[in-house]
Symmetry: none
DNA sequence: AACCAATGGTTCACATAATGAACCGAACAA
DNA sequence: TTGTTCGGTTCATTATGTGAACCATTGGTT
C-alpha cells in the first residue's frame, strides 16, 4: 500500500459520530504505528486537510476540503454524473432509468436514459414532478425521510392517478417499513397505467435521502426474473450514484452481501 | 518534501478556471516527473479525491471531498456562521461582503453576500484565491501575520493584477504599519479594476489572523461618507465574527471606543 | 500514406523517504 | 511512589518512491 493511500485512508476514520480523533486512537483505528500516524497527520495538517482542535491536541477535518468541495460542486453538476449512471443502469436492465431529486416537498425528474433494446418503453418528461405516494421513487425517498415529511405528505389528500394508486395512509406506512427492509421500493401502475417501477434512494453527505434512482418497465415485460435483476441493479447503481455525489447511505440501509460497489474503503490491513 | 505532501499539493492546481488537468499538464504544473504524477494521481483516484472525467482521461476533483466537507461543516459550521455575519454586513453597507480564510500561504474565499440595493455590484466566486499583496483582505491578514509569512510573501515576485496593484515590498510594509494603526485595510483597484474594498482581519483562538472579512464596492459609488461607514461596519462585524468563531483579537488591535455600528442602514440611502 | 508532436501510461535500476520499536516528558489516578 | 495513559520524537533498517527512457494511441500536417 502506498504512503499516500495510507495518509488518505486516515481521513476515512472521521465520521459524524467521531469528528475528533487523537493520535493514539488514530493509530489504533488504522493499525499503523503511532510514529507513522504522527507524520502522516502532520503532512495532512500542513496541507490543511486536518487541523488540531484548540483544546486537546486531537485532529479534525481541516479547511482545505472546503475549497475542493466548492470546486467539485462547480465542476460536476449532478445531472452529468447521474446521466452516466443512468446509462449504465438502462443498459443493464434494458429498460428506462431515471433520477429524481427532492426540491422542497416535491420530487422532480432530473435526468433519464432509455434502453434501445425494446421497441416499447416507458417514456419520461423533463422536470416531471413525481407524486411521493404514487411512485416508486417517491416511496423510496419517503422511506428514508424524517417523520415530519412523511406525516405532512400522508395527511394531505392523496390523489389517485390510476385505479391502482395506493391512497390509504396506513397502507403506505406499512409499505415504507417494508421498503426500509428491502432497500428498494416498488410501484405497479401507481402513477401511469401499465408501468412497473423499482426505485432506490440517493443519500446526501448527511445520510438523508435527497432523491431516487428508478427503473420503469412496461408491466407486460415484468416477471420474477426481470424484477429480481432490476432490484439488484437499481440498488447497486443507486449506491454508486450516492457515492459519486459524495453522499453515503445510513447505517441501517440494507447491504447486499454479494455486490461490491467500489468505494472509499478504509484500511484493508 | 514528503510523498503525501506532494500528492496533496497536486490537488492545489485545480482551480475554478482549470477544473480538468491532464497527466502531462499536471507534471508540468507541479514540476514532478510524469511517472510520479501518474502514480500519485492513481492513489488520489483510488481514494476518491480525484477521478478521471468521462471523455478525455483528464483528472478532476473527486467525490470523496464532498463527504469530508460535510463532516467539516458539521464539526465547524464556519460557513453558516460567516454567512449570517456577511448578510448583516452587506445589509448595513449595501455592498458586497465576503469572508476568506488562510489556507497554507494563500487566502481563499469561503462565503459572501450581496446587497440587493444596487443594480451594479462586485461579484465573487466560490473558492476564489485572493493574492495577499493585492487585496484588502490579504493586506489585513498580512498586517497581523508573523514576520516569517510577511517576508516570504514580499520576497516572492509580486505580480500586478492591475496597473494600480502595489508591487513594491517597501511600500507594502509601510501600508501594513498603517493598517495595524487603523485595524482596517483598504485596496483601490488592486485586484479588480473599479473595485474599492475595505477589510478587517479575523483572529483565531491564539490571536493569530486566520482570515478577513471585506466589503467591496464599485469605485464610482465610493465617497468619504460611505468609506467611513464601511470601515466602521467591517471592523465591527469582523470582531463579531472573530468572537463567534471562538477567537479573539490581539491586545494591540485598535478598538473604536465611540462607534457602535449596530444600526442597519447608512445615512445616504 | 507517412510523418510529427502531442497525449496517457509503463518499466526498472537506483536512492530517497517511510517505517516502527523503543524512547521521552507530561498528565492523571490509585 | 508506581502505573497508566497521552502526544510526540529518535534512528537504524529497508520498503517505498523516483525518473530517464520506453510504449501505444491519437490527431493534425504535409
Amino acid at each position: 500500500m502506498g504512503t499516500t493511500t495510507k495518509a488518505l485512508s486516515l481521513l476515512g476514520y472521521f465520521t459524524r459520530a467521531r469528528p475528533l480523533i487523537g493520535l493514539s486512537d488514530m493509530a489504533r483505528l488504522s493499525g499503523l504505528n503511532k510514529a507513522t500516524v504522527h507524520r502522516l497527520m502532520g503532512e495532512l495538517a500542513q496541507a490543511g486537510f486536518v487541523e488540531q482542535a484548540g483544546s486537546g491536541r486531537e485532529y479534525r477535518i481541516g479547511p482545505a476540503v472546503m475549497r475542493l468541495a466548492a470546486l467539485r460542486e462547480h465542476a460536476v453538476p449532478m445531472r452529468d454524473v447521474a446521466a452516466q449512471v443512468l446509462r449504465d443502469l438502462s443498459d443493464a436492465t434494458e429498460e428506462t432509468a431515471h433520477f429524481s431529486l427532492m426540491q422542497g416537498q416535491t420530487l422532480s425528474t432530473v435526468a433519464y436514459a432509455y434502453s434501445p433494446v425494446h421497441g416499447t418503453r416507458v417514456t419520461m418528461e423533463d422536470a416531471e414532478v413525481l407524486m411521493l405516494h404514487a411512485t416508486s421513487s417517491g416511496l423510496a425517498v419517503l422511506a428514508y425521510s424524517p417523520r415530519d415529511l412523511v406525516d405532512a405528505v400522508l395527511q394531505a389528500p392523496l390523489t389517485a392517478r390510476t385505479p391502482q394508486t395506493i391512497t390509504d395512509p396506513a397502507e403506505i406506512r406499512a409499505l415504507l417499513t417494508e421498503i426500509r427492509a428491502q432497500g428498494v421500493a416498488e410501484s405497479v401502475s401507481g402513477f401511469e397505467e401499465d408501468v412497473h417501477s423499482h426505485a432506490a434512494p440517493i443519500f446526501d453527505a448527511r445520510g438523508c435521502a435527497m432523491g431516487a434512482v428508478a427503473v420503469a418497465a412496461p408491466t407486460v415485460r415484468m416477471d420474477d426474473a426481470l424484477a429480481a435483476h432490476i432490484r439488484a441493479s437499481v440498488k447497486a447503481q443507486a449506491l454508486r450514484l450516492t457515492r459519486m455525489l459524495g453522499g453515503f447511505p445510513p447505517a441501517d440501509y440494507p447491504k447486499d452481501s454479494h455486490d461490491t460497489v467500489a468505494g472509499p474503503a478504509p484500511a484493508t490491513a
